[in-house]
Amino acid sequence: MRDAILIIGGGIAGINCALNAARYGTKVYLVDDTASIGGMMARLDKTFPTNDCSICIEAPQMYDTDNQENIEILTHTEVRKVKAKNGGFDIRLVKRPKYVDEEKCTGCGACVEACPVSIPDEMDGKIGGKRKLISMAFPQAVPNMVSLDPACRSGEMQDAGACIGGCAVDCSQCRECPIALCVKACEKEGKNAVTLWQSAKNVKLEVKSIVVATGIDAARPAGDLLGYDLYDNVITGMQFERLMNAGGPTAGEIIRPSDGRHARRIAWVQCAGRGLAPGKGVPYCSKICCMIATKQVIITKEHDAAVETTVFYNDLKAYGKNFWGFYQKAVDAGVRYIRGRPYEVQENPETRNLVVRYENLETGKIETHEVDLLVLSTGIVPNERNAKLAKVLGIELDHLGYFKEKDPLTAPLETSVPGIYLCGGATGPIDIAESVVQACAAGMKAVLRP
């Protein structure tokens, strides 16, 4: 359908772009290469500066997206080929198998219960987050269904205790399975939705325009950054967000990875890794980290006002409406903001507490500060799959790895290819509200293309 548009990325930007375009009356294909739409926002606990519960405000939009008749959601799907044709684009997508039938799965979780293997969750691993080899991305996932880890299906997890593996033939050859516990559990529920023999599917589309909404990622700290790889109680800001999230691995308990005890003294290091050698840290200001940390200290204080909280920072980015008041709220709650630059962290092997050495930028002195838990605000990086996608789309990235706008000053959100537009984290570090604004604008541009 030439009148349709393709949106790549199902985070809050992609969702809003899709809802606007669909309500306008345009057919939308919303593609996400993970198992659910929702993106980064679905992992957050709260949003600044109102401390709205993130999933509470995002989930209704996710449900709306799912129910909008003009929107077709394609998860686990990659864009492989894009060819400009007749003023629009011919698209080839590949839908990677979830090894679960989308039509049949109801997300009941019987297979998850049956799965014998838990492995550390990719994002929450350090704070004890675990997932089964068959699992749902998160409780509110859309589509509300599970997917199977491809590593399990290929037999690689057998040593870890997985039931699958060691067969003479590949799963793709079978149409039933006598050994996989997830398959059996699903059969028992009467659904037969787990299908290990599922294969990748090619999907072809014709669209008039494309919106790139691939989002941002939290930077992973270089291994030796302030003891991250050495000490259990040094975690990232995103891990802390999961730690305080009632839906996260600790059910909202702010506890230390080393011993599961409640952290009584916590410090945040802003700009962690910034200004270090290439590859060691994010070289630019990521804009949103100050407010993320401020949100986290406020929530921490709300959980327990007696927790001692300290934020080490350089320049406070209270760049938006009511953000300064939000910072004041943290200060009033007793949070210490220290202009300082931590450069070394040492663990006390007995207590597992951390001693932070830092330069106090106001006094010029070297000082130390002991905490139970240290949080590194490592900054924001572009989606790691941007480069590959840029090549497929025939558009450029800027030197930081975000998609390049042709003329950001006077024709924002347009790329060097007419008909391909950008919104949200694809353009750079950005907050939710700004993403939504761009999503509306990119949607307008996309639907207006003849």
Binding site: I12, N16, N20, R23, Y24, G25, T50, N51, D52, C53, C56, I57, A59, P60, Q61, Y63, N67, T106, G107, C108, Q140, K191, A246, G247, A251, G252, P283, Y284, C285, E302, D315, L316, K317, A318, Y319, G320, K321, N322, F323, W324, T363, G364, D398, L400, P408, L409, T410, A411, P412, L413, G428, I432, A433, V436, V437, Q438, C440, A441, M444, L448
Partner: protein, 690 residues
């Protein structure tokens, strides 16, 4: 809790034809089973006892609709968030509470009436108020669809603040601000479907989406002209606050604000046509004082204090203008005195460039701003404490530039009344939702773009303008808006034409005809219920939340052991969100509450509160959104004042006014709700009541 026992209990209630237990009631399997059961048993009211209406009401409404029922004949009882997750250690009491909640749901369900979505036609014409970058971008995009756009500008020239600026920058991209915005204005003049009115002010705004009439004063239209449009984009921009004599502004001509500096830079020869340009001495020929050698910028003037936040754009503006001055005269010495430097992502490159060119940056303490001291010759010395080197500096300043905070346009005060929207004390309009509805107002068909919301960069203003065009274009393209069936309904039989409902409706959804009779414009009504609760003659009811329905819930809740029970009226958007959060967070609190959902705390009438006391409730809770947030703009304020009045009335009627509790709770604040419950139980001594 014991679910089978609750199912069995439900089965025995009056009017209940069928009670069924589903393991995953939202699964496709169970939904189709539900449809089959509805058809098979010819069921005409459905009560769902499961999670929370905030997430799943829509799903179940659609489902019963697919089974041939009117979707408004559904009542949702939340036994997961309100019972099983929050009373995990008291299974028996929890089961009892679940039974009560189901009984309340059934009591309401039998009284439910069919509702319908209401459509209102919307034509394809839009008024854009303000002709800066945001407004012009919005107008071009509206007209680009073949719709009509009217651009209304109070000054006699399109372009807004950009007309007064020199360069605008983003990364390595530069543009002459005025030239660029004038080319945009030229496109607006050329575009068919756009009408431009300049020099005009708005006197009146009447009507609603699809049907706005705007009365004008002055301008190039015909005198007393009235405009008729379906939608409105508000893009009224911003202005600098006055430094009010601080830092010798207004006293010493060498002290100027950032915008005053922009004007000077703009008037320098560099910005004149090439044929008029002189080769050298650019800076001094441009209206600057002849001996400008040293320039000092002071950041955050009027910002980041108790009344105002970060101005958002001042750091960028200062660095950009410092670079512009350097371009005019490379020998000029510039110091930028700041508190926090806010230069993000690619702006870091600009900062590097500035430092490379020798522009100095010096941080002063938050509580000790730099101080200009005047020399006899009128030049200045700025005394400042540099906290990074720990020294007091004395900087000569031939020019002192103040980066002052911004405020909304001076028309905002009037416009917010006419549009019935809110603005903060600085005159920036309040968007509908900070995160997910940044481009709109609560009133349908009115969008918000650019610096009228808060200070922003040109790029963001253009994006907001185009995005706002999208928001108003959706109803214009569809040709209608659709309102939910939860709306006010007026029975004129007892109406004494007091006009209170018309005056108090936050959405102007109640009009008054020539005979002073009120009428609800249903497509505009959001169903908050403020009018119904306030109506002195009880003429107004809210479909789906009628007095009878709510009172039936109160009665059902207090059927047994009322002295141990707390009746809680909670608003759907925030307080119930808090209740749900308490559930998701597994916060354990006492079982005494029986909650009744209303869309807004403003719906809770004195009659409802009184009924709970009359039936012997231990206490009553009215819970709504935390100030200043309210899904219905100001319903919580109305509720608060009503509760105050109710307390007096309770005292007069012989009840203890201390047993009426009022709490404001955000959707994220589960702990606050849980604590409220604990506090009330303690205060009323309910744990010990036998």
């Amino acid at each position: 809790m014991n679910v089978p026992e609750v199912v069995e209990y439900a089965r025995g209630l009056d009017h209940v034809t069928l009670a069924d237990e589903g393991r995953w009631s939202c699964s496709v399997d169970y939904l189709s089973r539900m449809q089959a059961l509805i058809r098979e048993h010819r069921i005409n009211r459905v009560v769902i006892a499961s999670c929370t209406p905030r997430t799943h009401e829509g799903l179940f409404k659609r489902n019963i609709q697919q089974a041939g029922m009117n979707p408004y004949l559904l009542e949702f009882v939340s036994i997961r968030e309100q019972v099983s997750w929050v009373h995990m250690r008291e299974p028996e009491a929890a089961t009892q509470k679940a039974k009560d909640l189901v009984r309340m749901g059934v009591a309401k369900a039998v009284l439910l009436e069919e509702g319908e979505e209401i459509r209102l036609p919307v034509k394809q014409d839009c008024l854009v108020i303000g002709a800066g970058a945001a407004g012009l971008s919005a107008a071009l995009n509206v007209a680009g669809q073949g719709f009509q756009a009217i651009v209304l500008e109070k000054s006699d020239r399109l372009g807004g603040m950009l007309n007064t600026l020199s360069l605008v920058r983003h990364d390595s991209h530069h543009a002459d601000a005025a030239q660029w915005v004038q080319s945009l204005a030229a496109r607006v003049y050329e575009t068919p479907g756009i009408r431009v009115i300049t020099g005009a002010e708005i006197e009146t705004i009447e009507g609603y989406i699809g049907n706005y009439t705007i009365g004008l004063k002055g301008g190039n239209g015909s005198p007393g002209e009235r405009l008729h449009v379906s939608t409105i984009v508000v893009a009224t921009g911003m202005r600098e606050i006055s430094p009010e004599g601080a830092f010798k502004h207004g006293e010493n001509p060498r002290v100027m604000t950032q915008l005053e500096l922009e004007k000077r830079i703009r008037s320098s020869k560099k910005f004149q046509p090439p044929e008029d340009r002189e080769e050298t001495n650019d800076l001094r020929s441009s209206g600057f004082h002849p001996e400008v050698k040293n320039v000092v910028f002071i950041q955050c003037v009027g910002s980041k204090n108790d009344t105002r936040g970060c101005c958002s754009i001042g750091c960028h503006a200062a660095v950009k203008n410092a670079l512009a001055l350097k371009a005019l005269d490379p020998d000029i010495q510039i110091h930028i005195l700041y508190r926090d430097l806010s230069m993000v992502k690619e702006e870091g490159e600009m900062l590097k460039e500035a430092k490379h060119l020798g522009i100095r940056f010096s941080r002063f303490p938050d509580d000790r701003y730099p101080e200009p001291v005047e020399n006899l010759d009128g030049t200045l010395v700025v005394k400042t404490m540099d906290i990074l080197i720990g020294k007091e500096l004395q900087l000569p300043a031939d020019l002192l530039v103040l980066t002052v905070a911004f405020q909304g346009d001076d028309t905002v005060e009037q416009l917010k009344g006419l549009l019935k929207v809110s603005a903060n004390p600085d005159g920036f309009f309040q968007e509908s939702h900070v995160k997910l509805a940044p481009l709109e107002f609560p009133a349908d068909g009115v969008a918000l773009a650019g610096c009228a919301k808060s200070p922003m960069m040109l790029k963001e203003s253009i994006e907001a303008g185009i995005g706002a065009a999208m928001r108003v274009s959706i109803p214009m393209k569809r040709g209608y808006i659709e309102a939910e069936g939860i709306v006010a309904d007026i029975d004129l039989t007892d109406c004494n034409q007091c006009g209170l409902c018309h005056k108090r409706c936050p959405y102007s959804a109640i009009s008054v005809d020539a005979d002073k009779n009120p009428r609800v414009i249903k497509a505009l009504c959001k169903g908050c219920g403020l009018c119904a609760a306030d109506c002195p003659r009880e003429c107004i009811t809210i479909v789906h939340f009628t007095d009878d329905q709510v009172l039936a819930q109160v009665d059902a809740a207090l059927l047994e052991a009322p002295e141990k029970k707390i009746i809680g009226f909670v608003c759907h958007w925030c307080a119930l969100g808090g209740v749900d959060m308490a559930g998701v967070s597994r916060l354990q609190y006492p079982v005494h509450a029986r909650l009744i959902r209303v869309m807004c705390s403003a719906r809770v009438s004195m009659k409802m509160m009184l009924r709970a006391f009359e039936k012997g409730a231990a206490g009553v809770l009215v819970a709504g959104c935390e100030f200043p947030t309210c899904h219905y703009i100001s319903g919580n304020y109305a509720a608060e004042s009503r509760v105050r009045r109710m307390k007096k009335k309770l005292a007069r009627s012989g009840y203890d006014p201390e047993r009426l509790i009022n709490v404001w709770c955000s959707a994220a604040d589960g702990p606050k709700f849980a604590k409220t419950m604990k506090d009330m139980v303690k205060q009323f001594n309910l744990d010990n009541a036998s």
